[in-house]
Amino acid sequence: MGIFEYAPAPESRAIANLKDHYKPFVDGEFVDGSGEPLKTLNPATEEILAEVGTASASDVDTAVKAARRAYTDVWSKMPGVERAKYLFRIARLIQERSRELAVLETLDNGKPIKESRDSDVPTAAAHFFYHAGWADKLGYAGYGPDPKPLGVAGQVIPWNFPLLMLAWKIAPALATGNTVVLKPAETTPLTALVFGEICQQAELPAGVVNILPGAGDIGASIVEHEDVDKIAFTGSTEVGKLIQRTVAGTRKKLTLELGGKAANVVFDDAPLDQAVEGIVNGIFFNQGHVCCAGSRLLVQESIAEEVLEKLRYRVSTLRLGDPLDKNTDIGAINSAEQLAKIRGLVESGDAEGAQRWTSPCPVPDRGFFFAPTVFSDVHQSMRIAREEIFGPVLSVLTFRTPEEAITKANNTPYGLSAGIWTEKGSRILWMANQLRAGVVWANTFNRFDPAAPFGGYQESGFGREGGRTGLEAYLSV
């Protein structure tokens, strides 16, 4: 026991207004899905939170038809300035219900309340505000004087940022005049269904947004449905490839935001303490369940020891535990399946000879937790340097020269994000031009803004979300 033990400071779970049962949201109403209901868990306690009705293939058809009707009869005809009003209303409702959404997100996902409260929910609202502003200005976005929407967008989102990914998908789709059929992840459907309530509160015309909980097969039904004009998917590269095969040869427009194995490159002239912060934020934010996580630290050999020493000290101050506690830095891994995957890759790191260091923080007996782990002496040939772990595990590699840093950073089939830490401005620009990554952060990491386009190269996918560029994915251009 230390002398300054922070007393538990849990956010009240009552704020989440958790219900026993949730239903799919189709054509403006919550309906009984004809799929097998699923039970969603609190990954921090393994207790069942709620039963959620799921969709079947026929429900997908119903939802797509509703979306088509809403598109043809209402939404595509509505002037942008009117659509904007709905988006502004949704944004304000997200803000009004932000505490409820944050607590619910934390219960369902396992992420710390400080992140759902200070990052996920405010950024989700910001996406709606930002895109509301575009709705009546599409003619000035650089896609011609009167760019047209695509129609019905089928959207499939992951479990790592359930509400935020929903906002990334729905806000631009609605702003550009499309209607939506969205499937939240199997393990995190709750905030998406509360978003359905928000659509009702905002009096959004029926059918503009449809939300269908379910497993991968429902995602596949949406992707395969012939009346869907556009597919947007965020998730694993494996599923992304399946989707691409399915839509090949169809008229469907596709954007994919997939995995990553980002390099966070630290030069010897970096602001070291802030670089350490950036490394920590890069890999331990959201338990490392971030597609753009800085999971490979490339540090210049001359400062490797110093950086590792500072990093271990800093990581040992991270507080792991109850995600609802306001002082928790690292919450629960989202599912037993994901925890097993992380463990498997960590074992491969041990077997392949990397040096494992694990934070001495206490780990709760119940729930899916994994203590922050740093592997040093990692080489390019090891699995932990090549495969996406999607957990709080950092692989540390070294380099000698800037050229070597570029070579190693680019030596991955992925290309979603990268970080550069140096006080030399010219080197930042030189590096950024050569890094094959959709997002390059300089002297920071994991910063998101609705105005900044986000997306990847190669196996990290294609298409951009956010900013003016992100509008293109939902316009006929």
Binding site: G2, I3, F4, E5, Y6, A7, P8, A9, K114, D118, D269, A270, P271, L272, D273, Q274, E277, G278, E309, T317, K326, N327, E423, N443, T444
Partner: protein, 324 residues
């Protein structure tokens, strides 16, 4: 003239760093070779840590610890012996109706009032701290600064809060600043030396880091943010940079040095944010009045009010604590 500037009277720089103060060029190379501080990053980190929620027992502990770390300060032209005696009485018994309330760490006054403070606090464990060296601007000759220091020490001060020569620092005359701190340290003898960097005039975090190391190299027992006469005074990110410096100093030399933010810390909420920073940036062993102080005057009363709230379970008003 008794004022000598011989640095040899001050303790030697610890062995691992002995070379860096060998000459002006080495010192300069060392200070400019320290890693930079990214403004956005350090401010983000400070704001992030500021969201820690300290409740119940942790809050009670933090309030009592903060009270015991206060350097109760009066540094006004209008200071009188009466005012100093009144503050001394408050320092000894911050909350007279609550015997279990800890006393403060020190009473901080101008040199000419040290004697009054020493008499008023005689036999207690509350220290007397004196500002010196031409406080607050430090714009006077070294002879005067050293004489100022000696007078404070001779009058019985346990701690001396000196100001660095910011002009010399900003001109890049680091060795002059270093030697002056050493000379003041020598004049202090056994008396504890706090080195005020006046971070509001140094302006950049890089400068704060360099000045912190300079003061640590020169033998300062504490590094202190501000005089309280310049705005901005203490800020959380500046204190982060200084806490990082004493942490790194400990890693390099094994020596524990202290940090004192001063000026602008008025509420319990703020004080707790600083304690969280001490805990998580420097480390748990800095959570003692030996190594962390608050330079403040109005902060104490807010701490006392919050202490009563914690103990009694309800708020009381400002009239329930003494004005000074």
């Amino acid at each position: 003239m008794t004022a000598t500037t011989s640095p040899s009277a001050a303790p030697d720089t610890p062995a691992p760093l002995a070379d860096v103060t060998r000459d002006d060029a080495s010192l300069r190379r060392f200070l400019h070779g320290l890693p930079g501080v990214d403004q956005v990053g350090v401010e983000q980190r400070a704001a992030g840590l500021g969201t820690r929620s300290i409740k119940k027992e942790a809050k009670r502990w933090a309030i009592d610890t903060a009270i015991s770390m206060v350097d109760l300060t009066t540094l006004e032209g209008a200071d009188t012996r009466g005012k100093v005696r009144a503050l001394a009485a408050k320092a000894l018994r911050p909350d007279p109706e609550r015997q279990d309330c800890p006393r403060v760490a020190a009473l901080c006054v101008y040199p000419d009032l040290v004697q009054t403070a020493v008499e008023a606090l005689a036999g207690s464990a509350v220290h007397v701290a004196s500002v010196a060296t031409g406080f607050p601007s430090g714009r006077t000759s070294r002879e005067v600064k050293l004489a100022d220091t000696r007078l404070a020490v001779e009058a019985g001060a346990h701690e001396v809060d000196m100001v660095i020569d910011r002009g010399a620092f900003l001109e890049g005359r680091y060795m002059d600043v270093f030697e002056e701190i050493r000379a003041v340290k020598a004049a202090c003898g056994e008396t504890h030396l706090k080195v005020i960097l006046e971070t509001g005039e140094l302006a950049t975090y890089d400068n704060v880091r360099r000045a912190s190391w300079l003061a640590l190299l020169a033998g300062g027992d504490f590094i202190k943010t501000s005089t309280g006469k310049v705005s901005p005074a203490a800020t959380l990110p500046v204190t982060h940079v200084m806490l990082q410096a004493v942490h790194d100093w400990f890693t390099r030399t094994g020596e524990l040095r202290g940090v004192k933010p001063a000026g602008g810390i008025r509420t319990t909420k703020d004080a707790i944010k600083y304690l969280v920073a001490v805990h998580e940036v420097a480390g748990e062993q800095w959570l003692t009045p030996e190594l962390f102080r608050f330079g403040a005057s109005s902060l104490l009363n807010d701490l006392l009010l919050q202490r009563r709230t914690q103990v009694d379970g309800h708020y009381s008003g400002p009239d329930y604590v003494t004005v000074d």
